[in-house]
Symmetry: D2
């Protein structure tokens, strides 16, 4: 059995993390190439990880016969185009979330991949986090009955300079995780209506430049469930990701910001350290998702998180944007025939 | 120092619990009289607790000079009228929530009590629950900075026959606790806008009769905080009351459904028993609130939960009803000059 | 039904706490008299609690026909003698732990009370703490099978001036709680052997004056269970009382030093406040034990913690002292025919 | 930088787990050979993991120039001899605990490795478990002052057929982890005295064949700390490893049997799944220890857990055996000049 050779697009923070995972932690995978348009970025990472090839143009890498599949960790707005380009070369794709920022390009990407007949996986890492997966499995088995109230939240640990943050990022890049999580934890149900509010509470001075750093979303599903998703860009205590599903026969909660099992009791009370980064809190989930992708590439299996999942989460994000603009509840579009 | 003599209105479940508290658990209080229009109800409770007087007409009891102050635990829709009647006799009043179901009658009750110059306390027990009080105190001291995201929930343990449940109960009688809690945990802030969704998910067969057993409310405050309140009438695991406040400098959570410190580890995993009733989960809060009221009556002090608090929580509940009717966000009215 | 009239011996910290409980928190109980040889001590407490009578000589109070039963919270070494004196006057007795410091005086007290035919209860408050009681009930029902490994610990919050602490206090007054707890959580089993080590680690400068502020005890039971009891006089994080029983079919843990359900998440991590005093951590247990005693006096029922329980815990404490002296495991004596 | 080539001795459960770690999860490591005297055992594992060479005689593998370092996961009583043999070939050694079962062979192994001048690491995995490491670091920094009371426990999930279990296994192979943990969590202190009790409580029918499946050990240290170590071979709720250190300035606890962050609330209360296997509870620690070893082999650095650590833990285990035989406290020997 030969190794699955992975080509990485994007040598930034997340791309580098995935590259290390591929290089060192996955049975039967190898890091075959790195593409990054930033001069020197690919080289530097390739050298550190012993990766034999580098590119500045991702499309050239897609055409490289030494690459079996690609992992896209480039800026969000380039994702869909890259997926389509990789599809044309018949390469399996792991694409960081969001896979697309419009439903049209999402569908285009999905269709390109379908035609290519290779796996398309989207980086919804929470589906690979043990607590969330266990929650999903229990819910799917009906252990808490029919979901009635749901909650999912993301709190990033700190907001740096808000200048480069694209408009609507909180919905398209942050809450997209929560939208997918809610879909994951309410299996088979479809979202119908959304009401979203958002504000710049962390950096009110950037509000007139379009920053939204805090948001709360109300989502209704066709099985009756009413969900709340919330996000904030600056939790001083660390990276916080939690979920809760209350159903007709019980409740399930998942997620815990505490770093280890260690608890310290002093004159100040009982204290636990908290996780500061996503790659710390969700370390195992990040490794698991890429491991699972490599397995799909090898076997031709269907990824655990698909382009269709990306489409569905995006439909909610887009409805949020519309809702904020109108300050009114709106219907979720999407769920097209494609899906 | 002579005892504060308390007259109880309403010998039902909650009234009986408060009556026991007054009779046995409060230094310097005594249960002086019980009024209940249901034939025999007052007598039965009075006999059990050694209470010397009973009435079927509360107003007669209010006129009794052997009664210093009254505790109203009658059906919600009669509260405001009873408060006004007690005020006319100059009696201090502890009124179960909601104190009123319209802002007009709330204001009338507040004004009557002001004229009487005696304490009016409302049964917002969560303000007396140790975890919530500690949360409030920390927030007030600025320990988590300015609130940005908030959550409060109430889940009742079981829905019996829905027939006698008045319309809008979930907002006026259940979530009213959460609205007050959110005000309590966001000190000094005023609610501005509300969006509410509600449904009959526990008993969909009663939806066309007006039952709403599940609701989620989005509330915006003038300090930027965005809050979610949620309620459901049937949590199979027990009575569940929790709160969370996320601010610019940290987060605070309060509430825990687990019954005791005991944890059981067996072949089925780790297990804790959960509280099944409000009087179990919030036992100490119920005792503390009536103890505090008795102290106010004795000293003429201002209650920890006032008629004005009731007005403010009610304003949110009424905005919820309007929001559900319109399926749109609405402004919170109230906060009149009175308050 | 007339009130049970309680006479208190000892107006110190614990006596005052019990007195308030009797005066205000127990249906059908009243504080009828207080005896304390310290000039003015009884008067001061009596005045505060509206108690009509005071004595400097406890025996005179025992003879008072206005007193139905007595609560002994005097110094430990006087307990047994006081129990016998109360028995002679036919008064029911609630005696703080330890009821005696020799097996002979324990037996004398037990026999005196048997002859008097009135209830004798000992202040083993942990049997009334909800978590420990739930643990006992589960174990008794066999939910974790046969106990094999056990643990009980007591950590007092702070050691003041060690000068007045009598020799062997850590076994006779502190660990006596843990010995009783272990007996309670291993129902039906008898201790056979004990090995104890003890030291002055908090205040080594008092070691040569006989101070032992830290101790660990190994106890074997006739059903095979091996238990560890440990104590320390200075936990800077507060008052800490916990238990653990591991059996053939599972494990149970009880006790939690955290003060409320509130958790604070800041840049320093997740933090809970901790209980600082026994009357805070075990508040409800203290009230419950005296409430239960009053009920026994009224009904003539058997107390939940008896003189025989005191005898059995004392037998372990005395074995510990012998073990420390010999630095060797010793057999537990006691369990005489009396018991 | 060329890969560190690892040769494995012992293709059993633990050896296979380590082999997978080397093969797939460690940057710069490769599984170069497997030796196992059981016919076919090495072949089968080698085939699964793509390992190029197999041996039935470990010593032949030690002589193989294609092997840089070895990982010994053979039966405990063969460890020391294998370490010495590997040392003779100048191979770095990772040896599963216990490295030896007598102090003499421990010292021989240590000296052989010193002469070889290559790293010797011992499989005390708890030092690599995040919670325990964090605890050690805090204690070393003095955050809880001087340790006074300590606890460490191991509970294995299930006892199969006790027939092949060698005498004193509970001390030499199970509690050896706890002895090392206590040394790790009390940095700089030396054990002075030990008292141990042990019994066959899980399988009393095997007691006369020498089985001891339950043990409690009391250890005193030269800094005053009094520790309890306990073990049992059958915890029906899973694999349980915890530690607690109480010091003059606070307490630290580490270890948690719960599997994930997921909690399930149903009519039966609140429930968490528990870890069932050591490779589940301590998965990351197992990977971390071998990763750290590979790094030491590459750099010539000193391992985090050394032969000297093995010697010191063994000295406690041997004292336990003596204590059980004598039913008396005994002194800890060892800490020879070698160490």
């Amino acid at each position: 059995m030969s190794n699955v050779k992975i080509g990485l697009v994007g040598a930034g923070r997340m791309g580098s993390f995935h590259a290390e995972t591929v290089a060192y932690k996955i049975p039967g995978a190898e890091l075959a190439a790195i593409a990054d348009p930033v001069p020197g970025a690919a080289n530097k990472l390739a050298e550190r990880l012993g990766c034999p090839k580098v590119y500045t143009n991702p499309e050239e890498m897609f055409a490289d016969p030494d690459v079996d599949a690609v992992l896209i960790a480039a800026p969000a707005r380039s994702h869909a185009k890259l997926v389509v380009a990789a599809a044309k070369e018949g390469k399996g794709v792991f694409c960081e979330k969001p896979m697309a920022v419009t439903l049209e390009e999402a569908d285009e990407a999905i269709q390109a991949m379908r035609q290519a007949g290779v796996p398309l996986q989207v980086g919804f890492n929470r589906r690979f986090a043990a607590g969330f997966k266990e929650a999903h499995d229990d819910i799917k088995k009906g252990k808490i009955g029919t979901p009635q109230l749901m909650r999912s939240l993301t709190r990033d640990p700190g907001l740096g300079d808000p200048t480069p943050i694209p408009e609507w990022t909180i919905f398209l890049e942050t809450l997209i995780h929560d939208f997918d999580t809610l879909l994951y934890l309410n299996p088979g149900a479809e979202p119908t209506d959304v009401y979203a509010v958002a504000d710049a509470l962390v950096r009110p001075d950037f509000k007139d430049k379009g920053l939204l750093d805090t948001a709360v979303v109300n989502i209704r599903f066709d099985n009756g469930a009413i969900a709340t998703a919330e996000a904030n860009f600056q939790a001083v205590y660390g990276y916080d990701v939690r979920g809760e599903v209350f159903g007709s026969a019980g409740m399930i909660t998942a997620g815990d910001v505490r770093q280890t099992s260690m608890v310290r009791y002093t004159a100040d009370g009982a204290n636990s350290d908290t996780c500061r980064k996503d790659t710390e809190l969700l370390h195992d989930a990040y490794v698991a998702e890429v491991t699972s992708f490599v397995e799909c590439v090898r076997t031709g299996g269907t990824p655990y998180t698909t382009g269709e999942d990306a489409h569905r989460a995006l439909a909610i994000a887009l409805a949020c944007i519309e809702s904020v603009k109108k300050n009114a509840p709106v219907q979720v579009k999407g769920n097209t025939q494609l899906i």
